[in-house]
Symmetry: C2
DNA sequence: CGATTGGTTAGGCATGTGCCTAAGTATATT
DNA sequence: AATATACTTAGGCACATGCCTAACCAATCG
């Protein structure tokens, strides 16, 4: 998942899809890149679960998988929890020191 | 920054440092990896700003740079904002349709 | 001072990644 | 049916990445 987000093109794709579903053509338009290369990026994102896609006729429409984005975000929250826990321990220690004083 | 977080070893390093500062030796102990390889990971993280390090004598101590972590987290928040904005627009549209009905 | 410890530098390798071009398939339009 | 459009498949290349070993430097310990 983080591997998938390592590439700036892929991050931009995800960002764009948060604005709403889009076709492969729409998504690829702003990028000066050969289509197969671009689609490879989509595949990485889809493989990681961050987006889904559906082909109707000859048009493939991509959508962001927000639950999966939330999974990635949760990692940061877990870091914050660790850090906060550390501050809580520091606070406790400071209180202990004050009591002893 | 996301590039730096793409590697599981590096994510674990960051996670560990959120528990508190640690020396290179301490950090590398759980990993079955040659020290130079491990230090290369630290360098990637430091280069990306996610951690800082300071050498005192022969001991290098690493610390997480929480502000920088917050920068990465902010990207997810910006996605959420886009998504929320989209829902707001949908709500408005639904209300408009209801009014017309 | 010699030995040990903690880290750094240098060079190398196998694999992965991000891009390309060419050719092809399927669907839609004229 | 011919043409255009949207995507897919296949193969390739240059560079990046994640690991290794060997050698070295600096600080600390006994």
């Amino acid at each position: 998942m983080f591997q998938a987000l390592a590439d700036p093109t892929r991050r931009e794709i995800v960002r764009r899809l948060c604005e709403g579903p889009a076709t492969v053509s729409e998504l690829s338009a702003p990028f000066k890149m050969a289509l197969p290369s671009f689609v490879q990026h989509l595949q990485v994102l889809e493989q990681s679960g961050l987006i889904t896609s559906e082909k109707v006729g000859r048009v493939r429409t991509c959508r962001v998988a927000l639950e999966r984005i939330a999974d990635a975000e949760a990692w940061f929250e877990s870091l914050r929890a660790l850090w906060d826990e550390r501050f809580a321990q520091l606070d406790t220690l400071l209180e202990t020191l004050q009591d002893e004083k």
